[in-house]
Amino acid sequence: MSAIVAESLRKAYGGVAAVDGLDLTVAPGEMFGFLGPNGAGKSTTIAMLCTLTRPDSGHASVAGFDVVRSSTEVRRLIGLVLQESTTDGDLTLMENLRLHDHLYGLPRRTFPARARHLLDLFGLAERHDRLARTLSGGMRRRLEIARGLLHEPAVLFLDEPTAGLDPHSRADVWNHIHALRRDRPLTVFLTTHHLEEAEHCDRILVLDRGRAVVRGTPEELKATVRADVVRLNTADDARAAMRIRRDFACDATVDAQGVRVVTENGAALVPRLCAALDTPINAVHVSPPTLNDVFLHHTGRAVTEGEYLR
């Protein structure tokens, strides 16, 4: 049985569809990435799957329970980490966890062991009696993830788990998520608007205007874009570009920075290029497709910079 199933899920706000007929299936133990620009309907979908918002139509079930009819069971079996900070800054780390424990009606006897284990796992054990507001953004996010796991959920929802974090904290949060998955079998459903982050997922769904645009593994997704850019600096760029167009049937152009080749799989092309070209190659650079490329490819629109930064 699937960990998460959604069928024709729909939710509109004021006549505007935020989620418009979404179908998805997530297998148990899978890390599933939900990718799209802000306003694509990611948070609304999470809210429906987490029983915070009722779908207008369609069905969804999490861990085998319908999100509308059996919302209490669903709540028991999911952990939710929101993109806003949701820890109480006036409470210590331990007190934040204990509040969660009380709200979930968990046994007091096992609380210290469970809390200590999670604080250890997330590298927060030494700070257990500090006020949460003294934590850095990355540590606070780690505390939130630890809290979301205190009741041993079957599915963990992470809504933009690294939003607002600097690159170092972002990598750090990811290291902890990976460590966590080695620690226990857990289905993770996460939203992001960074393609690099989606690399961590087993499968990805790209969402735009409430609809699924494309889905697949990270490799499949990137392959659909065929947008790796290979940059070459050679002794004779014009001649190299001509040879590439002729022998490799690739789109190769020459500009101020050298030869620009757009290809499906840049890394695989480079050794063949090196072997085939008779002009000496000075430098090669391969850049993978970005979310912008994936998005551009499937929707004809770019994810604007403004939506990236927020």
Partner: protein, 294 residues
Amino acid sequence: MRQQTVPTSSTVPPVDDALPTGGSLTRELRAVWALWQREMLRLVRSRTQVAMTLLSPLLFLFLLGPGLDTMLDTQAPGAGGADRGSYVAYLLPGILIMAVQMPALRAGGAIVRDREAGLLRATLVAPVRRDTLLVGRCMGGASAAALQAALLLILGPLAGLPADPGLLLLLFGAMWLIAFSLTMLGALAAVLVRRVETFQAMLGMVTLPLVMLSGALFPVGALPGWLTPVILANPLTYAVDAIRRMAAVEGVGPVGSGPIWGGWQPPVALELAVMVLLGLLALVVAARRFNRMD
């Protein structure tokens, strides 16, 4: 006793250590208790804010009160020819209510702030009823407000309150009921309003007139008759009068200060009951709104 239902499927069941315990009522009560406890911890950790909240009631009581006292002819006979007592003694119950009112309304409003902070969504996803979350927050907020006012209550004997521990305890109990009621009204306003700014503007606009028309600062009997319906509809009127009569400090001036229902003065217990009923009504309406909120 376990009430947990675990799906009989390939999904990962929660480990035994983290299974919920107790019956459903026990669990809801535990959630209320945990939320109450959180407010208490917050109160203890925000001493500066408590001190600032208490500053204006203290100024009223120990500067404005004695200051105005010198202007008033307190030797002249009061209502029914009785000795009027000092203005400070008159002011004390009103100041106690003022001290309860601000933190109570603000605690109710914390729901708006929490919604903006995402704190609310994090608790909303817990497997407890939404009304439970509301009640827990408001119990905590009310207790925090009553405790803040209790600091003033301890200074009460300096302002003419009998230094009787039993009486002080009774007053504290009444103030807790009033605080609960006001917190609920704050919560009701909070669930009706989406933005913190709107809530604060609303609070600022409403509180001063309510205090003015409650008899907290001067006897409302002296006000023009067309204000009578407003005075009788003002919850603070009942709160102030109940505390004043319990504290047994007599009013200043030739006119009465409490609410009169068609020539009949409701007893203290009824005045408190009015407050409690109002609070419960606000709770029911707020809970219904809260349950439907996305």
